[in-house]
Symmetry: C2
Subunit: 183 residues, 2 copies
Amino acid sequence: MRLRSFALGWVQNIIDWFGEMGDLKENLAELAECGLPAALESMGERWSFLILRASFNGLHHFEEFQSTLGIARNILANRLGRLVDHGILARQPLADDRRKIEYRLTEKGAELLPAMLALRQWGERWETGCASTPILVDARDEQPIDRIAIQAHDGRVLGLKDLRWKHVADIKPLGAPRLQVVA
Amino acid sequence: MRLRSFALGWVQNIIDWFGEMGDLKENLAELAECGLPAALESMGERWSFLILRASFNGLHHFEEFQSTLGIARNILANRLGRLVDHGILARQPLADDRRKIEYRLTEKGAELLPAMLALRQWGERWETGCASTPILVDARDEQPIDRIAIQAHDGRVLGLKDLRWKHVADIKPLGAPRLQVVA
DNA sequence: GTTTTAAGTTGCAACTAGAAACTTATATTT
DNA sequence: AAATATAAGTTTCTAGTTGCAACTTAAAAC
């Protein structure tokens, strides 16, 4: 028995608020070849993102992940294996104590940071309601980073109403035309 | 029997590449109160992100989601219910045909766009290897949006080596000191 | 008033997660 | 060297989740 409408009061006002952004239902066959399913293939399972976050926070070992996250050992072994298979973590037995295995982020794994931060910032804003410690700061001036945002090529921050979906083929180059592959 | 090291050749070079960013293992107890687990509570289940993406692409009805995504009907019903419960989608029977239920993104749901794009861009870069159609463009000049990036308060794009973890308490205000709550 | 459509439910098989005990390889202590 | 301890897993078994196909229900269309 699910509660389906706890928020309908305020939500009602928002229903028309969100413009269509130019619906593009036509080629939803193409949805399958989008990068999102591919990303979810690697990161979409339970625990994967939390293991990733722990990696970003400097954890490198099985027992560290296990005791910090409280994940079952068999599941942790499975997820670490998958993350290694996907090239997100690198597995390396330590030279000075070969019982110890070090799991480190690869470049590919490290590049998930924007996605992780965007998700975390959303959670802070809409769920927990407050920023969580520790936070990321710019090494240069030790000031907190900005919110992750969508920006135009010239750096303007784009809100949802500033966006449209468009087919790659329909996009006209701006300024100098690009080189083209002829055959 | 898992394959654990298909990428160790190139990965090896990267192991030391990724600096510690100032490990902060000390207060990993605080990991639990981070926004990420909260976000995953809403969006961490299988299909949730794909339903969200379909919503961004202009789908609004049960049968549309079902036939487009190929998801089982019971699972779809369950996920739509959860997304509504979490205030990410709003559920509205249509006035002119009350069989039809419209699912629309709320503001809260729409604000997941940066997270979804960051994930998609990562998938395009590291998994599929190419941008997928349709893409998001700036409504003003119809040019594609930038990559989602981490930026300093002054707009500089920050790479991983430019970042540190820090406790909120340790951050000094820049410029004019802020007002403080006294009691 | 019979049929069709939209949005679900139900029942059941297959898969996945979780808790706890067990294994294996290496390192440390006596 | 033998006994103990530690790190990183496996195994086993139970509980929960996913997925498919058939069924239901309410509203519309014919």
